[in-house]
Amino acid sequence: MAESLIKVKNLVKYFPIKSGVLQRVTGYVKAVDDVSFEIARGKTMGLVGESGCGKTTIGRTILRLYEATSGTVEYDNLNLFDVSRSELRKLRPQIQMIFQDPYSSLSPRMPVGEIIGEAVREHRIVPPDQYRSYIIETMEQCGLQKHQIDRYPHEFSGGQRQRICIARAIALKPRFIVADEPVSALDVSIQAQIINLMTDLQNEMDLTYLFISHDLSVVEHISDFVGVMYLGDLVEYGSRDRIFAKPLHPYTKALFSAVPVPDPARKMSRIILEGDIPSPANPPSGCKFHTRCPMRMPICSEEIPQTITYPNGHQVACHLYTKDQPEAGDTDES
């Protein structure tokens, strides 16, 4: 495995619930509960899960947009939660984010050139005399045209806006990008354009992505490694090929079988989960998935399953598997 650029260790983020006149803390929403993973340089990790499972919170906590409750995030062997404000400011250009909704994440009062260039100027990425030509170069790299530099976001379509968001991120010459559902708000034909753009940029600039999405087919296409989340826990993690070929966790299996396949001839045996996701403020005891799990056992409601790591890097947190079960995590490295 190549050297890791990002190492997330035991990351925990609780949001306090305040109530009453005195705004006393009456409980916590356990958005992210003890999650660890690593992302190798130049690779893409896909993070999947249903809404409210904490995918976005992980992305934002890594960027220190939220302060973590506990745990560490190492970027290039530097603990991001320890660095001072001025140091963090120096690191900011290297870690960028692309947001979900290209309609609300662009200021309607700024022309495109200014949106892309604001941070470039602020961080002095290029000398002032090359500023404009650099912006144009970045725009062209992202498939926007030179003459559009003075236009405003409302003059663009959804796909083009997402290109602007990507241009804004890569203009700072980042090394790591958190892409939070970058294609969810776009039409299918535009989605493909944006995904291709992101893979091209990754090859050109040696970028590392954390790709957050609920769309499994998109994640399968773009990721090298996949993490599956449920209610703040990382229930399964492994290389893309392994996870999609041989999912272990019952939740992953159900999630994959729920994806509609555009082929009417293929009738899948579908695992339909009962009920909804429980509230993260009051998660079930033991394994959080046991309330909906089709394969639950008595132990599931009592004991929290430990994460098992197989020699090939496949991790799973489920009572169905034990470390010395060779058939579950067979030895071939994919």
Binding site: E50, S51, S157, G159, Q160, D187, V188, S189, I190, Q191, A192, Q193, I195, N196, T199, H214, L216, S217, V218, E220, H221, F244, A254, L255, F256, S257, A258, V259, P260, V261, P262, D263, P264, A265, R270, I272, L273, D276, I277
Partner: protein, 400 residues
């Protein structure tokens, strides 16, 4: 009052469009806008007058179905919006049938007119800007056949929600937040069955909630929409739409706002219910996967027109129109890895001032000299499979 309205809209328009240049040019721009506005007003008034007519003879709206097996036949439907920017032809000559007991999937990207088609069927297009200006929507309720575009308002109110029910995209915005789920379902049953007693209505509502798989139906009856999760709300919406035993259910993106696991539950529910209540479903979605799974027949729309229709197997295994092919290839699919996704270049064209030639020509990688000519007609591939593309016309096929 009307004059001031026109003046205000023109001024607003001008402010927005930032007309630069000399005052002469500005005046010319203003004149043009005023002209568009007058023309729109004239047309809208004309359509409004026919809409508001109460006394319409039954012979004016009764008609004959082409095929008795169909519930609804769209025949060259045209729904236009008269905006200050010009006329938007949101639906421009759409024809397809919904057979009894079948599911018809309508697919297309945003802005292709799929929702407007369904709203036209319900006569819910935003008036006075939006008007059905031509074509027929023939609807057969078993006893008589009517043309939905012509029936008087009091008659459509008996059909809407009763015989044709609609499930909307966002269950949060389409349920009223200040009434309980129960009272909202009660209202529909009461409206369409005036003779029913309160107790019977309540019983029917709770039964409906049970049918859609809500376990605690009595409790949910008294809850407000915000107390339910997205999936539960959509279930309640489906229960509401089924309350009057509809002949046709129009589902407009019923699962777009939901998670995949919940989506699987809802689709499963819809499929089971369809057989139980013996209704047809018109499923409107942009998700090709959902269509493949649910639909018996598929209609592909692009820029307000049907470009291809056929059975699900024909569309997904043997797509003929370059747009359908592109759409299918650009969707990444689980367990089918490709190194690079196919992407259709360019964007959906501007709905105002559509060209005279094929709307897809500018994005098409198979365009030929003939594509500069007229808009292609629907060409028959098989009895059920039709495509609007010159690639499959006789002369092109003959010349190879």
């Amino acid at each position: 009052m009307k004059d001031s309205y026109i003046k205000n809209t023109i001024m607003n328009r001008l402010r927005k469009t930032k007309l630069k240049g000399s005052s002469k040019a500005r005046r010319a721009g203003m004149r043009k806008l005023r002209h568009v506005n007058r023309e729109n007003q004239r047309l809208m008034n004309q359509y409004e007058r026919t809409q508001k007519k109460v006394t319409i003879k039954p012979s004016d709206y009764q008609c004959e179905m082409r095929d008795q097996k169909n519930v609804v036949e769209f025949d060259n439907l045209q729904t236009h919006f008269f905006t200050d920017m010009g006329v938007v032809k949101a639906v421009d000559g759409v024809s397809f049938d919904v057979p009894k007991g079948k599911t018809v999937g309508v697919v297309g990207e945003s802005g292709c007119g799929k929702s407007v088609t369904s709203l036209s069927l319900m006569r819910l297009v935003q008036r006075p800007t939006g008007q059905i200006i031509g074509g027929q929507i023939r609807y057969n309720n078993g006893t008589e056949t009517v043309d939905i575009t012509k029936v008087p308002i009091h008659k459509i109110q008996k059909i809407r929600g009763n015989e044709i029910a609609m499930i909307f995209q966002e269950p949060m915005t389409s349920l009223n937040p200040v009434f309980t789920i129960g009272s909202q379902i009660d209202e529909i049953i009461k409206l369409h069955n005036p003779g029913m007693s309160k107790k019977a209505i309540r019983g029917k509502s709770i039964e409906m909630l049970r049918v859609v798989g809500i376990a605690r139906a009595d409790g949910i009856y008294h809850s407000y929409p915000h107390e339910l999760s997205g999936g539960m709300r959509q279930r309640a919406m489906i229960g509401m739409s089924l309350a009057c035993d509809p002949k046709l259910i129009v589902a407009d993106e019923p699962t777009t706002a939901l998670d995949v696991t919940i989506q699987a539950q809802i689709l499963d529910l819809l499929r089971n219910l369809k057989d139980k209540v013996d209704a047809s479903i018109m499923l409107i979605t942009h998700d090709l996967g959902v269509v493949a799974e649910m639909a018996d027949e598929v209609v592909v729309m692009y820029a307000g027109r049907v470009i291809e229709k056929g059975t699900a197997l024909e569309i997904f295994q043997d797509p003929k129109h370059p747009y359908t092919v592109g759409l299918l290839n650009s969707k990444p699919s689980v367990n089918k890895s490709v190194s690079r996704l196919y992407s259709i270049p360019g964007n959906v064209p501007n709905p105002i001032n559509m060209p005279g030639y094929c709307y897809f020509k500018d994005r098409c990688d198979k365009r030929m000299p003939i594509c500069d000519g007229d808009y292609p007609p629907m060409i028959k591939i098989s009895d059920t499979h039709l495509v609007a593309c010159w690639l499959w016309s006789e002369e092109v096929l003959r010349n190879g």
